[in-house]
Symmetry: D4
Subunit: 149 residues, 8 copies
Amino acid sequence: MALNVYLSGEIHTDWREQIIEGAAGLDVSFNSPVTDHAASDDCGVRILGAEDQKFWHDHKGAKLNAIRTRKGIEDADVVVVRFGDKYKQWNAAFDAGYAAALAKSLIVLHGPDHQHALKEVDAAALAVAEEPAQVVQMLAYVLNGVLPS
Amino acid sequence: MALNVYLSGEIHTDWREQIIEGAAGLDVSFNSPVTDHAASDDCGVRILGAEDQKFWHDHKGAKLNAIRTRKGIEDADVVVVRFGDKYKQWNAAFDAGYAAALAKSLIVLHGPDHQHALKEVDAAALAVAEEPAQVVQMLAYVLNGVLPS
Amino acid sequence: MALNVYLSGEIHTDWREQIIEGAAGLDVSFNSPVTDHAASDDCGVRILGAEDQKFWHDHKGAKLNAIRTRKGIEDADVVVVRFGDKYKQWNAAFDAGYAAALAKSLIVLHGPDHQHALKEVDAAALAVAEEPAQVVQMLAYVLNGVLPS
Amino acid sequence: MALNVYLSGEIHTDWREQIIEGAAGLDVSFNSPVTDHAASDDCGVRILGAEDQKFWHDHKGAKLNAIRTRKGIEDADVVVVRFGDKYKQWNAAFDAGYAAALAKSLIVLHGPDHQHALKEVDAAALAVAEEPAQVVQMLAYVLNGVLPS
Amino acid sequence: MALNVYLSGEIHTDWREQIIEGAAGLDVSFNSPVTDHAASDDCGVRILGAEDQKFWHDHKGAKLNAIRTRKGIEDADVVVVRFGDKYKQWNAAFDAGYAAALAKSLIVLHGPDHQHALKEVDAAALAVAEEPAQVVQMLAYVLNGVLPS
Amino acid sequence: MALNVYLSGEIHTDWREQIIEGAAGLDVSFNSPVTDHAASDDCGVRILGAEDQKFWHDHKGAKLNAIRTRKGIEDADVVVVRFGDKYKQWNAAFDAGYAAALAKSLIVLHGPDHQHALKEVDAAALAVAEEPAQVVQMLAYVLNGVLPS
Amino acid sequence: MALNVYLSGEIHTDWREQIIEGAAGLDVSFNSPVTDHAASDDCGVRILGAEDQKFWHDHKGAKLNAIRTRKGIEDADVVVVRFGDKYKQWNAAFDAGYAAALAKSLIVLHGPDHQHALKEVDAAALAVAEEPAQVVQMLAYVLNGVLPS
Amino acid sequence: MALNVYLSGEIHTDWREQIIEGAAGLDVSFNSPVTDHAASDDCGVRILGAEDQKFWHDHKGAKLNAIRTRKGIEDADVVVVRFGDKYKQWNAAFDAGYAAALAKSLIVLHGPDHQHALKEVDAAALAVAEEPAQVVQMLAYVLNGVLPS
């Protein structure tokens, strides 16, 4: 068994790197959105032409990013969605809903402060964790049946 | 043609009532989540037994609410998701993602302040509006081809 | 909103009647398997001809019952599966798995003794209850947002 | 033609090993649940934190195991479900129902004592066998058209 | 529970009428292909213009009939396919395969002479009967749990 | 049997009226796009606010119209697409492709001049006709088995 | 582009070999049913135990063969179904219907004598050919755009 | 992440070559229809036999080409549809609709003259570009997060 894992959500800490490094040696392939915030915001207009209005500037970029996001979620066996401390992060919750409707195995990663606000998202998940290391431990267990010592 | 519309999201203003009243006379049926905040939070433990930990208290409630929410979205032709001024509203974004993955026609309703934060949600929508009255006008147009005078 | 509910599982107590009577006045339609044990066992050979071997006797009956069972589950919004105190009840667990794979809202009903043995089934459910009255309360809440007083 | 086979059910005998060894030389890849009973029971709390109540202890574990189980069934061409002599084994019947709803080719493996109790599960299967060696013979036949001599 | 039943196959005896009359009083709606042989053969060219070649004459008719056939099968809960004594009846077997792939409940109706030639079709069915009266008895049992006296 | 028919394509002649009037007395319900050209072009900006650029003006309108179009096609048993003498009519061909991918029964209506240019669209259809009256005749035949006298 | 092709139907001539040899050098992988008639008839009882009645003898075999057949069709991009001069060949027509319902590209291969009897099957096909060499030519064209010289 | 891209539409300029060459070094595989106009028109009759009527001549060819086209679109992550200056190009719009209904990521490529006529197609797309080089830039961004310098 090999797993394809999509890492959605917060882009301001190194949680993706922690998981990817921790999972070295496991039969997992990872995909993520573009995590370069500036590139992600401006990709649409940089390639397809400038817009006067911010709404359409954002719109072009969000749609271009959706090509990657949808491919990542649709190919995934497991979708991990991390909610950080800051920002609205509605795209993370949107990805979680998208993954849930496609019956993907969903893992949600967030601190205890967000527990109540994320209760609907957590209710759709197969696991709720606080630390990236727990995600690595789950991947190791799911693939090899080995628990952390 | 008749439309089944699910009204998801913000529960602290009367936007649902505005739409439902405005749409009187149109061939539309509406569904919504339970909008009584206290009932929605406590339904799980009230029916299925108390929990010591807040996480499981919330979990039981969120899952029970999901029976209604999923039925509402899956039956809908159009899903309207409103984001208000306050709170994280991750369940609203989750519903939007769920609806998008099921290829429902999505209408997003929010003020100009949230434009950038909601760009991924808006990019999946067939319409982005600011006022409930615009939703009514769209329903009237979609059903009867009549534009506001 | 109206709900179509399929009542699967144990056939030796009156739990179905309790739910159906309790739900009088709610916009719910119920379906169930044939609960006449003898008819359910013999339907195949009674209509399609006797069999010398018990395996084929059972086989003919089980397949004929499957016409009803699958129709019931596929039409349902909510599948309630009850596990009683006796027998293997593998058909109940089979129905639960079938319903889960079709993304139906699953409610499991069983006493505390079966908690560990049913953990995989419960994990796929949106609610786990012990009493038929709780199912009625959930249906009332899901449909009307009203909690038991 | 190559086959992906998921081996679900009983974990107290070496039937999986018998099939896997017997199928050496055939173009088959096998997947199974985690068959270490203790690890399977405790995986949730070991990774995600202890629970006071046994129900939630079990719940966390069952959901984590579901990531592996669902991946295994969804990837499979053939799902073999074995029912042993002991225990309720509701998870085995649940997997059989899940596989049936996804239109997987289902093989059920059980002794003659369970024939009546498993009639609904058997009715959904393409083959019912008693011995692991028969499963190997079927895989050999399906892949290469060769019957046992 | 109500059933929608599609009656496919042989058109030279009154088996459809027997079933429909026998099922009077049951909550069943029936659909069938056009059973006027001449109309069925010529419908394409009569409406869409003559063809010089018999192949295209047949082709136009078969496609027009497919509008009805596909609607009938896709709407059905139960597809009954009858094979008579004469002709190739490949369209009946085609309908059976089409219904099987859509996971419809399939009932096959044929005499004992065709048993071996229809073994693959029978293997996909939930019931194999010889007489129209048996189909009526099954519908009565599936709907009302009542066996023939 | 009743049919739901979506009438897509050309909006400058009265072909829809001819079909609807011709089908009076048949158990058919019809849906169509908004056929008021000016309303269809401007609906987006009239309801959701003006745009400086024609591309976004068109974009808002096309998306709002898509709510109706997709509902119409997804609900349909039969999709009739008419290509007239003028304009590019790419939306008609788009609807035909959309309907084909959803396995809808497709009827294409066009004059002999467009035969070669429409060969890929015609190849996906169950019938190709030139006159609205032929569509009426087909609906009558599909529903009632009656051919034109 | 590579193609997976399933060769269904008649097993008494060497048409499969002709196609497979003719397609040497093309990026095509082929699958077929077991074409050893005796093995195909007896596989069920040889592996799973003898049956007194011919119906169950056939039934066991047909279901075991279905594991291979369904895998072959579901994995295929193109399903070629050949009808020979003899026998009822209802399994071939069943496979054609199964493939059509799964939206597979269907090629039917038969002599001119069967044209009328196969009109419904042909109507669901993307090509109707008489000779295996034509199938090879089509595969070459579909993959490489090269027509026979 | 690797992408499978189908290049549909206009066949009289070298836009496909520009994209394929520009994407050298990216992890993309491309598929296209047969772009040899004469071969594409005549493939059906060349392989399957001549037709007297042009309609059936075209029909046979269009269906044979559909084997390749559907495989290409169904396998694709991204479908790029280019509309050129000439011809009706209804097959391009048909492919766009087909891709949209399958929820493929759609990129439309056309000059500013066609903006109004293609508004419904553009509304279903995740990006609308004018030049092949923009498609290459988008593929590079989607795969590697790198914007053009």
